[in-house]
């Protein structure tokens, strides 16, 4: 067992809005051999105004594994992913029914602070979106928010994050160059480093390699494997082969008759791709449609 410093306190009288459980990093699989759940959706439905985009999703994302969400385009994969870190809140008139539980606490509960949720659940977007600052400042952006301003400390954090994102060697001599001057693949790894710098527990990736060339894609996939030891990773991809290569668990989604996204099947990747339980799943993974 690792020693973790429990810095976050539970609700105190002055801070009734403190939300979520103390930090716990890298819990090991429980002794019974089943993996613990990091995120669980309970009867989740997402609405944009009156339109139901996701209908009644129920599944559990295991900790320290890579879970892929696949399905034909438009089936709500991104919507589902974005609901995990409450990015859907940015869409006007969107609301959610049901629950999403992070370590058994509903992130959509009344007094939950979105800012804290988003720190614990980081996101990498389809198109790399570095800030127009230096590479150093891009990664240091998050820690600065939390009051860390001492240059020596920031340097440590930046180096650690860039190493974790497999970018350190390529940029260590040009940390003051603009983040936007990097190649696409490098920019995406910069965004990953930036997300890692705030010490999240979960990393969401929305088609992270779809805008990248094959070499960069491979680098990112390798990166995911090395990251999963310490983080829970959820990735949305329209590339089935990528899902099969990279993920440990797969969720397959489809649109139902009311044009709402639903979860058709969820299970270990090997099983989904070789012995799917659902006919629709089988049709999709064998390429009969998609």
């Amino acid at each position: 067992m690792e020693t973790t410093m429990d810095i976050s306190t539970h609700t105190t009288p002055e801070n009734p809005h403190l939300s979520l459980a103390p930090l716990e990093v890298g819990s090991e699989p429980s002794k019974s051999g089943t993996t613990e759940t990091k995120i669980e959706t309970v009867k989740l439905s997402v609405f944009y105004g009156k339109f139901k985009a996701l209908a009644d999703i129920n599944f559990m994302i295991p900790v320290n594994q890579i879970t892929a969400i696949i399905g034909p385009s438009g089936c709500g994969k991104s919507t589902l992913l974005r609901s995990f870190n409450r990015m859907n809140d940015l869409v006007p008139k969107s609301h959610v029914e049901g629950e999403i539980r992070l370590d058994d606490q509903n992130i959509y509960a009344q007094h939950v602070d979105v800012v804290d949720v988003r720190r614990r659940i980081g996101m990498v977007f389809q198109r790399p979106n570095p800030f127009p600052m230096s590479i150093f400042e891009n990664v240091a952006y998050g820690p600065r928010l939390y009051g860390i301003n001492r240059h020596s400390v920031l340097k440590e954090i930046v180096e650690t994050s860039l190493r974790q994102a497999a970018l350190w060697d390529e940029v260590k001599d040009k940390l003051d160059d603009s983040g936007m001057a990097l190649s696409g693949g490098q920019q995406q790894r910069l965004c990953i480093a930036r997300a890692l710098a705030v010490e999240p527990e979960v990393i969401l990736m929305d088609e992270p390699a779809s805008a990248l060339d094959p070499v960069s894609t491979l680098k990112i996939e390798d990166l995911m494997q090395s990251l999963k030891k310490d983080y829970t990773i959820v990735i949305v991809t329209h590339n089935m082969q990528q899902a099969a290569r990279v993920s440990d668990f797969t969720a397959f989604m489809m649109i139902n008759q009311n044009r709402a996204g639903t979860l058709v099947e969820f299970g270990p990747t090997a099983q989904i791709f070789t012995r799917p339980k659902n006919k629709q799943t089988e049709d999709y993974v064998t390429g009969r449609f998609g």
Partner: protein, 327 residues
Amino acid sequence: MTTAIEPNTFPVSQTAEGHKRYIQPRKNYASRQRANAIMLTLTGLLCLLAIVPLFWIIGYVIYRGGQYINLDFFIQLPKPMGVPGGGVLHAIEGTIILSLLSALFSIPVGLLTAFYTAYHPNTVLGVIVRFGTDVLSGMPSIIIGIVGYTLVVKPQGHFSALAGGVALAILMLPTIIRTTEEMIKLVPGTLREGSLALGAPEWRTALKVTLPAAMTGITTGFMLGLARAAGETAPLLFTALGNDRYEIGKIITSGVQNHLSIFQVLGNIFEQPIDSLPLTLYKYTQQPDPALVNQAWAVALVLMALVLLTNIIARVVIMIRSPQSRG
């Protein structure tokens, strides 16, 4: 399990695998949220603060000006100092004449120039003209007045409506050129190409195809420019100068009575000094006569109504149209 933390020691914890932890999420959480709430509210308040002068001015203009508006105000010339009553007919007619003149000078030149800059933006002339209109649009209006003085008043030896019209036209020109150019560029290239492909000459395409397609935008731009010119005072101070005996009806009838030719009558209309609503407003505030100050408020009311209505209509049209043209 909380352990006391020595302030500012980093890293703050370390896992068994050697991963260091630096972030203490709860440390400045409350102050961040507080700062967020304060700043967001502040910006909203600033917005309200900006609206206050608008309503204050409009309110007072309506209140004070409304008291002194009557029919006489619109149809009479000013009375001599000390004599109550009288109106600002001269200023109303002056504003109309000046607007006509400035439109006459600026629209043809502006439209045609816009055709050039829209289709040849990267030639030497195109670049210079576009840069120049930007510079011109930033020129203080009083300097345009000096130009009008030097170009018209000095050679002619007297102040005139013509000089005022020229000055206002120079003022309006950049706006007209820029708006027309943008509107022309918004017309889909396929429209123009289709017309040219049918064999229509360039000028016909421009006048019968491109221009009508861009017409709404051009008109609204022109209305905004005209509203601005109608409200200008500085360029008129030493071009049109002001004239409280000016009345077109009188000019025409006296011309007829004295058997003057059309050109002489026109000369009398355009070659005299002339007043305008804003110019009259300004002059009335410079006099110690409280009756004139009251009239000034009334003039302000008329002027504001004119300018604000034009602006509202034009901007609403623009805002309604722009989602379409961007679609």
